[in-house]
């Protein structure tokens, strides 16, 4: 395993900054009452996992994410406007307002979908790996999920299949130390998660998420191996800076812990490293940040200006176009009550 970084930290920084700023805007959208509901899970503090792994993915690669997936999709190249509009439940969103924050997907970028079921999106990558192998797509399929999903049985079924069938699959646990209010050591006895992967015959490693370059290096190794048929598992250790969702003020952990945890800031770390190593100057980075801020500001305006979907669109997309459609309740009732005409 070669951990020597071999990438452009500037670009990783930019990706991470875009994620952070986007997530801050999601918070704003909520405060302005423009989001669809309050089930908004911000990935602030976890940017290195998204940036580091996505940086080594190829265009043909596919992935699924958990409910805290904004950052991953952005790192993969998503349009933040269409993302924000989806979070607002608007017709201009990626899923025309049907999916929302927890169900964003985009086939063009290989995003097979975010999921509101903890662990729910994991087995799909086994299937994508099967397709890749059989149809010679040369793609790796990556499942992103949280530490909470480490206790979902379907993860182990999926790992086992991937190893058994030598599939190009990578399992990425973003270990932000918490599943809602439950600290990871309150959910399991042994947090050395790589042991589990190895016990099922996969490559596995744990990496500190403070340094995005380390994440990227580990991901590169695992991804290369996966592309050659040896599936892998990566756990990225980060800290969830804020509450679980927008309503959660994290009363279950104390301020001292939070302050300590937020010191593990991958964005700041990369910024300092860029400056210290002379790769970037502070003013240049400030300018980068301002440009990103402006770009992300625009996502809010776009969302606010977008329309809610038309009511009758709700009957669309249950089945493919041209297939028998669901009958609206009102139509049924009207027919039943109009019987005197028969």
């Amino acid at each position: 395993m070669n951990l020597k970084p071999n990438t452009n930290l500037s670009s990783l920084y930019r990706t991470m900054r875009r994620i952070r700023t986007f997530e801050e805007r999601v918070g704003e959208l909520f405060i302005r009452g423009q989001s669809a509901g309050s089930m908004l899970h911000l990935s602030i503090g976890e940017e290195s996992s998204a940036a580091g792994v996505c940086a080594v993915m190829k265009p043909q690669d596919t992935f699924t994410t958990h409910h805290r997936g904004h950052g991953i999709f952005l790192a993969r190249g998503a349009d933040p406007k269409r993302m924000m509009a989806e979070i607002g439940g608007k017709e201009t969103g990626y899923c025309h307002g049907k999916g929302g924050s927890m169900h964003i997907a985009d086939m063009a970028l290989g995003h097979l979908g975010a999921n509101a079921i903890v662990g729910g999106g994991i087995p799909a990558v086994v299937g994508a790996g099967l397709s890749s192998k059989r149809l010679k797509q040369d793609s790796v399929s990556v499942a992103f999920f949280g530490d909470g999903a480490m206790q979902q049985g379907i993860l182990y079924e999926s790992m086992n299949m991937a190893a058994l069938w030598d599939l190009p699959v990578l399992f990425v646990c973003i270990n932000n130390q918490y599943g809602m209010g439950t600290r990871i050591d309150q959910a399991t006895r042994n947090t050395a998660f790589d042991q589990r992967a190895k016990a099922f015959g996969l490559n596995g490693t744990v990496v500190n998420g403070l340094d995005v370059e380390e994440v990227q290096a580990a991901a590169r190794w695992l991804m290369d191996e996966a592309r050659n048929g040896k599936p892998g598992f990566l756990s990225v250790e980060v800290y969830r800076f804020f509450g679980h969702a927008r309503m959660d003020k994290s009363p279950y952990r104390d301020e001292a812990e939070e302050l300590e945890g937020r010191k593990k800031d991958p964005v700041l770390f990369a910024r300092n490293k860029l400056i210290e190593t002379g790769l970037e100057t502070e003013p240049a980075l400030d300018e980068t940040d301002r440009t990103i801020a402006a770009e992300m500001d625009a996502t809010i305006d776009f969302t606010v200006e977008s329309k809610a979907p038309q009511l009758n669109t709700m009957f669309r997309d249950v089945y493919a176009v041209g297939e028998p459609e669901p009958e609206p309740v009102r139509t049924r009732i009207d027919r039943v009550l109009a019987r005197e005409d028969v």
Binding site: M39, K98, G99, S101, T182, P309, V318, P326, I333, L337
Partner: protein, 324 residues
């Protein structure tokens, strides 16, 4: 009498029951320190301790399975599923184990557990956090099914569920938690398995449960302003089902509407409509009308979400059509 929320009534029921019956434990995600995703178990851990408010890992199948084993060996577990939408992961443990154990083992032992969960729309929570899956449960012999609409019932039905010898699925409605009503928790509760006639009127019988009871009552009030008087029956439990009460009123009135938030096809609305149609055949002046969830998934968009399930206005609109 005191004003209380649905959430607090549930909490009170848990608190009172746990004081009386030391064998009760609550197990589920975030039920302890966090106090429940919707706050129902808030602070109970302070009174009853972490040994009785057991925070579990995110392992729904094993949560239900462990509750089954606990119920067979002396505890009375309340297993909490944070959202009924997660039922799909647990239907094996629920339907193949909990529901069938007494039967398969020839009556040797029962599974006195309560599966507490919440369902329904109202929070823009999307397709996987807004469903009404009571239809799957009602279609599974061996499971009792309670779905309180009122604050009083939230308390009493939960207390009663915790005395039953067989597994009870207890489904709260996420949009009712903050609902407040005047209640007297010391009053004699309606018997388990008995429907409540929430309102009487001679023009139409509306048979429903859970949040749709509230909508039906609101609709009935609107209708009354137009001179239409509806009877509203709150089933309270779907298993056992108090069909006698339904029959009595439908036979008297001759017109019936059933309302369910679950999708229309092959679910609770179908059962209720089929049952009324077959048992009250000679008394029906027109077809039983099903007002139910559209046969589609729930969208996150608030407009599409609320547009896809029954509402006060839809109930009133259909009732007017039925009587025009």
């Amino acid at each position: 009498m005191a004003a209380m929320t649905y959430r607090d009534a549930l909490r009170q029921a848990l608190d009172d029951a746990m004081k009386e019956d030391q064998s009760i434990v609550v197990m589920g995600e975030e039920v302890g320190r966090y106090g429940g995703a919707y706050g129902v178990t808030k602070d109970l851990i302070k009174t009853h301790g972490p040994e009785r408010l057991i925070d579990t890992p995110i392992s729904e199948p094993a949560i239900i399975g462990a509750a089954v084993g606990a119920a067979m060996t002396g505890l009375r577990p309340i297993a909490e599923l944070m959202y009924i939408d997660f039922l799909g992961m647990t239907m094996d443990q629920l339907a193949n184990q909990a529901a069938k154990i007494r039967y398969m083992f020839g009556g040797q032992i029962g599974v006195p557990m309560v599966l507490r969960t919440q369902g329904g729309t109202g929070r823009s929570a999307g397709a996987q956090h807004s469903q009404s899956l009571e239809g799957w449960v009602m279609h599974t012999p061996g499971l009792r099914l309670a779905m309180p609409a009122t604050v009083q019932d939230a308390y009493h039905l939960l207390r009663q569920s915790l005395t039953k010898p067989d597994p009870v699925v207890f489904i709260e409605h996420k949009a009712l938690y903050t609902r407040k009503e005047e209640v007297d928790l010391t009053s004699e509760p309606l018997p388990w398995g008995k429907a409540a006639v929430r309102r009487e009127g001679g023009d139409l019988v509306i048979v429903t449960y859970s949040r749709q009871v509230i909508y039906a009552l609101e609709a009935a009030q609107k209708l009354a302003a137009k001179g239409i008087e509806a009877t509203v029956i709150d089933l309270r439990t779907l298993n056992p089902l108090d069909f006698d009460t339904v029959r009595q009123h439908v036979e008297r009135v001759g017109k019936a509407m059933v309302v369910s938030e679950g999708v229309m096809t092959s679910g609770v609305a179908a059962e209720l409509a089929a049952r009324i149609s077959e048992e009250c055949f000679d008394f029906l002046e027109q077809p039983v009308v099903r007002v139910a969830g559209e046969d589609i998934p729930i969208s996150v968009s608030q407009e599409l979400e609320s547009g896809s399930v029954p509402s006060t206005s839809l109930i009133a609109e259909v009732a007017e059509k039925m009587l025009s």
